[in-house]
Symmetry: C2
Subunit: 377 residues, 2 copies
């Protein structure tokens, strides 16, 4: 076992949103000295740390000043300038995990698809699209049912174009022609349900796999998660080992969120996110290992222990803004509240989430749906 | 259900130790804006909050300045100037919970004994001692086996004198004569084991009771806790309801730690602590409701929900310093670490604790005792 010799260990977080906030809280719990780099002292993570460094994670000067103050760095979002991050990490000799090269590879949907295929991880058929001609060709190849996705910086439905007719194709082509990052086109996947999995790997090679969960999206935003579930699809049992082998090849350190489609033909990987993930927020109250602690353990190369559900079922319900007024709540009895402290409420914004347990996944979700009513968000 | 209308709610914590640190982390989790008043920015709680106010919780000026910045105040230790706190709370119209009058009453062992007797809560026979004559009389009344305790500000064995012979009586009398706070003497209690219970009450009158746990003390310091247990003693089943009635009389808001002796004649209350308590740290990872969240819910008058164990057994092991060198650790696999970030290690100092689950209380403790070896503290 590796000993952490130097305490306190100064751990740097790039970004100040809710993922960074929950990483900060769990980092504090295990005794890390957490430093946050973000633009606004009112950012969710900035509010819960002593060491907030006001700055722009996209600025080389701000990154350099920040790296000089910490022993190790991680991030809450893969949508950063990975090359710049790599340069600063090398110059300052402060390790970043997951490594910037991996961030660069996975933030690009095209390179992510190539990675999935190289590891024989099943994923929807796809093509590169960088012109109107490519788009037309994809439309024909995928029988007029397809999805165009920006190669980079798309999230929660932004940068995604579902195409089922020529009018939609026209709109997608406009986007392709006006965006320098390029697109990919994917065959439309008729899925039964969406599923997610969280896997963590540390430097020694040990991995920890969380249970499969079902995720439900409304208007491209995750509304709830329930689990544990057993996918009704071929290949599900082998998937964790195949993912672990993929992470080994990358020498990956950190948690990775895996979004999946359950289809009649088997499980397909929709997306890999090299970071903590909304679909695993349930783990804060429903597993013996939460994803935020797991991420720190991975980054610091410390043993994971088991990731076992604490009840027959669990659920997570996102508290999405439905108006722009100040939110109010009364804490419901049997739900654990995780509130992000965002400065402003607005429709669709993730303001917090609640976690709950039950005798089964469905029972937990039912209880939580009721508890959701206590919030006017 | 009461709605928290104003967000963020600014919650003030008096004191900067590990109890305040864990209150701060759980307060952040539920979205409170936590403010800490403590003397040193290196204090455990000061390290995990954006709003640290450097100052002395015993100073009227510092308290007043602090109260002007927050909406509600609570504390991590009852050993404060309760009268001063009450004056400042009244002057600034900022509520303090538990109320300062209750703090004043329970911080005095004599008045606490009177409270226990008034509620017919069983406790060891006792006498007031303010002179050598009183001490001699107590020695005779309790057949030469007794314990002298300072009325105020004693903790972890400090201010406690176990007397079984005349030489020890002489030392106790010296202490009685040199301390202006006065003492009580208690009949020595031959207990089978020490037990603890946590009970929470909120303004509406709702209470939540945690399971009974066994606590093990070494040199007057808690070393480990395991549970849930069923006391083998008369009166155990009725105790939670009697305690709840006592809290009702006080209109108490907050959690209260209850230390008990299991004796051949039944359960005896050893001590009430009007605050979060070391004996309930296990709840962070082993119950559906942790004591720190429960305290905030109590203070803010929000529903508790159930406080149910998440496994057949659980345990907590304190990481007590055994030397003055810098501590080092490797996180053990199946233990949750709560590290307090204290500036210096020293023998006997509580540096952190680990929590773990098992099939039974004994099994959980056995696993945790093994995990303890990963720490060089």
């Amino acid at each position: 076992m590796k000993r952490v010799q130097r305490l306190p260990l100064r751990a740097g977080l790039l970004g100040g949103g809710q993922l960074a906030r929950m990483l900060a809280l769990k980092g504090h719990e295990m005794g890390l000295e957490i430093h946050v780099l973000s633009p606004d002292p009112r950012d969710p993570a900035a509010q819960v740390v002593r060491h907030h460094h006001r700055g722009d994670p996209a600025s080389e000067a701000d990154l350099k000043a920040f790296f000089a103050r910490v022993d190790i760095v991680t991030f809450e979002s893969e949508f950063m300038d990975a090359a710049l991050l790599g340069t600063v990490a090398t110059a300052t000799r402060v390790p970043v995990h997951p490594r910037p090269e991996i961030m660069g590879r996975l933030q690009d949907r095209l390179r992510q698809k190539e990675f999935l295929e190289s590891r024989r991880l099943p994923t929807a058929a796809w093509r590169e699209v960088s012109s109107a001609e490519d788009a037309e060709a994809a439309f024909h190849a995928f029988d007029g049912e397809l999805v165009f996705k920006k190669r980079r910086f798309g999230y929660d439905g932004y940068g995604t174009y579902v195409v089922r007719d020529r009018a939609a194709l026209r709109r997608a082509i406009d986007a392709v022609e006006s965006d320098r990052h390029g697109f990919i086109a994917e065959a439309f996947v008729p899925f039964r349900r969406e599923i997610a999995l969280m896997i963590a790997r540390r430097g020694s090679g040990e991995t920890a796999t969380f249970p499969f969960v079902e995720t439900f999206q409304e208007r491209s935003r995750c509304l709830w998660v329930k689990g544990p579930i057993a996918p009704r699809a071929r290949g599900a049992a082998r998937l964790p080992a195949k993912l672990a082998a993929g992470l080994d090849e990358l020498d990956y350190r950190g948690v990775m969120g895996v979004e999946l489609f359950e289809t009649a033909k088997g499980l397909l990987v929709n997306e890999l996110a090299p970071r903590v993930h909304n679909s695993a927020h349930y783990s804060l109250d429903a597993l013996t290992l939460d994803q935020f602690s797991a991420h720190w353990r991975a980054v610091l190369d410390l043993a994971f222990g088991e990731a076992r559900p604490l009840a027959g079922g669990f659920a997570m319900y996102n508290l999405l803004g439905s108006h722009a007024r100040a939110p109010s709540w009364s804490l419901p009895a049997n739900a654990r509240l995780h509130w992000y402290g965002k400065n402003e409420n607005r429709p669709g914004r993730k303001m917090g989430h609640i976690n709950g347990l039950g005798t089964s996944p469905g029972n937990a979700l039912k209880r939580l749906t009721k508890a959701r009513a206590a919030f006017d968000v």
